[in-house]
Symmetry: none
Subunit: 442 residues, 2 copies
């Protein structure tokens, strides 16, 4: 990869649009472009969002030009008065906006195809700052701009020239138009300018260990420079991200791969998958591979585990029947939990959970029965059985387990339910990974 002065090129994404600052639109463009830049080895170090205000746009442009080599803007290319990107660029570098007749004709044709007369305001979209190039928009009327800004213009605008020319690319704010323009013009331009390189990363998803414990376990790896290794947490789960840089994606994967193997080996059952893997998908794949079936009896999770298991296409192959038994009578009548247990131990108890797991497996005729009973709150807790107390149990012919969870009682109900579901799905996973466990059918 070619360098910029004495270092790798640095990019900034500048999103322009008051609607973003009002929160009316979620900015997905920055995520797309930042990933796309990583894919060709350009480090994106900043995202900035600014509204449709000329002086603030120009201030942000100055900051971006001072610190970045490549600036990608999105938004502000439309035909209306609050679309200011073109004007701001021309004003900033004190160059005229030139009218491009061939682009105007192309825009008019697009309207003609839809049998609509082109509004006069759209002519503005054929304007281009002197020295820049318009790039086509295959999905809309607004062309983009690619501009290699040479050092003379930078000097004139009082921008430091030490790092060499800057590369400005403007995209429309509509995601489909932006994506098409990246794929059809901008990507190639940047690859031609800087050469190809690649950043590749992989998230190793862990369950059953805290972020800080994971960081301690892998303290030595956290100091690596290529690949880098970083812990991330959220929702009672945590991940180790391994990121490698190289001339190509394949080479980056090769650099990352020994570290990934090392982590997978050391983490063992703590690591359940990578990237978009979910506990329910991993459980589903294991059930499918082993030709086993699962049935679930839930109380406090109220159908969440069932919902997550059946989020996976094809789950009807291994899920035949799940039940949500809130009421004691339902636990007794449907699952056959003995009244003794309900009276003496209570519904939120290890005994009740085990009886539910056994009961659902028998009722459904499934290889594995999973059960959950607990108090998701905010009401229903007591001193001896507080909110957050949950029992998860699993019954299979050769594998039985029960686990008590004491989740923080001040967690929101949804979080208690989600974490409980994670623990339950993980219990099924561990059961399926246990070689001494359930026999494989078929």
């Amino acid at each position: 990869m070619k360098s910029c002065g004495d270092r790798q090129p640095r990019a900034e994404i500048l999103s322009i649009g008051t609607e973003l600052l009002l929160g009316q639109i979620l900015d997905t463009n920055s995520q797309y472009l930042t990933r796309a830049l990583a894919g060709i080895g350009v480090d994106c170090l900043w995202h900035t969002t600014v509204g449709d205000n000329k002086s603030r746009i120009e201030d942000c442009l100055r900051i971006a030009l001072e610190r970045a080599d490549v600036i990608l803007t999105t938004g502000g290319l439309g035909p209306t008065a609050d679309d200011l990107t073109r004007e701001c660029l021309a004003e900033f570098f004190s160059v005229p906006l030139l009218f491009d007749q061939s682009v105007a004709t192309a825009i008019a044709e697009r309207f003609a195809q839809r049998q609509i007369a082109m509004p006069e305001s759209n002519r503005k979209q054929a304007l281009c700052p002197h020295g820049a190039c318009l790039i086509p928009n295959s999905c809309g009327t607004a062309p983009g701009i690619i501009w290699k800004v040479e050092t003379e213009l930078l000097e004139q605008a009082s921008i430091s020239q030490a790092q060499g020319p800057r590369y400005l690319i403007t995209f429309p704010g509509v995601p489909t138009e932006m994506i098409a323009m990246w794929q059809e013009s901008a990507k190639e331009f940047l690859v031609d300018t800087f050469g190809r390189a690649a950043i590749w990363s992989c998230d190793l998803k862990h369950y059953g260990i805290s972020e800080s414990a994971l960081a301690e376990m892998y303290a030595q790896l956290l100091g690596l420079s290529n690949p880098t290794v970083a812990p991330l947490a959220g929702g009672g789960e945590c991940r180790l991200r391994v990121t490698a840089k190289a001339e190509s994606i394949d080479e980056a994967k090769t650099i990352a791969s020994p570290v990934i193997d090392q982590i997978r080996k050391k983490s063992g059952y703590l690591c359940y998958g990578c990237d978009d893997d979910t506990l329910e998908a991993v459980v589903g794949a294991l059930l499918t591979n082993k030709s086993l079936t699962l049935a679930v009896a839930e109380s406090c999770t109220g159908g969440l585990v069932s919902k997550r298991l059946t989020d996976i296409p094809g789950s009807s192959l291994y899920i035949k029947l799940n039940v949500v038994t809130y009421a004691d009578l339902a636990k007794e009548k449907i699952l056959g939990v003995s009244p003794d247990i309900l009276v003496n131990c209570g519904t939120v108890s290890s005994d009740c959970a085990q009886a539910m797991a056994y009961g659902i497996a028998k009722l459904a005729g499934s290889d594995i029965g999973l059960s959950i009973t607990g108090i998701a709150g905010p009401g229903g807790g007591s001193a001896s059985k507080p909110v957050g107390l949950v029992y998860v149990a699993l019954f299979a012919e050769h594998f039985q387990r029960v686990q008590e969870l004491c989740l923080p009682p001040d967690l929101p109900r949804c979080e208690i339910r989600q974490r409980t579901a994670n623990a339950a799905l993980n219990m099924v996973r561990l059961c399926l990974l246990d070689d001494s466990g359930v026999a494989t059918n078929g």
Copy 2:
């Protein structure tokens, strides 16, 4: 609203985290916070994203402090070495980080509740820059920081003091933790500092009408200037947002109120609630008020309706039993659907849905039985029964209904399931609103 110097307070959101710059995480926090700021009348004029790099974080902090009065940061409060927010703030203003024993104790207790020893690295989360305050995190270990930075500190850091003190608030990057912290501490602090919000809005949530039909129905109101009325759509539902501006929230409500009343009256049953109301919460409130119980038998939604109904605290009062019967045998054995129906009409049929609704009501002994059977895809469709074909049925003593849904087969599985669940919950709502319908118990 109090002003900042000679104008309204201006805010900037600074998102900190390399994962955002790699595009591995979509930044939804900025949208939440920018909306939340608008809700209390603070203009957010910039969003900036920067990675876990000390010098770049401090550079961004300087830019933000120069142009904004209020700076909200997200991310970088975790226990690991790449969590730099606290250190950067302290370094930037050259103040020491002080250890807060009571906060450390609270963090340790959170670990103790989960029966895990607190890793040493989490002690770092009890550090607070001298002069700032820690604010509690009800959903996680990382406390936030609220800091009124007085002009002496600004001077020392060579930041312009003309606009008066700055207000720095740090949030964790995990969305649930950030949202809880905003609602429990930060919002009140900003309202106390700058006075009450002057923008108030209310979303009137509709079901059973398209966005364009709603826009036509209320064409006259869409031209209003205060309050404004705007239609919004998403996920098969749509909303009318009524937004009023005034000197105070109460005044804004007074301005909006006649228009809201007018819409509610004209929309009738089409409008099921406002703002955070959900179909499941509305159904829950109606069931509670009428002392009625509900039981659900799901097939293609796989527990989603049950999960949504039991998201509502206190739902165990009206939900006793739900079942997910994927397999034919489960439909027959548990719900008593006759083999005739399964063979002659198929499981995805009006007859089967009705038999399931009747069966679950009888099995659970509930006042209302609700059932869903259909094809969520992506597999399982045929020419006569394509993906997206769903039947929803309801059985109550004096009210029976069945509805065929033909959802677009190219919708993702999750979307087909979500829309089906909406239709099913709405059917229960209409049943409960029907005066000729189910008798009120108790």
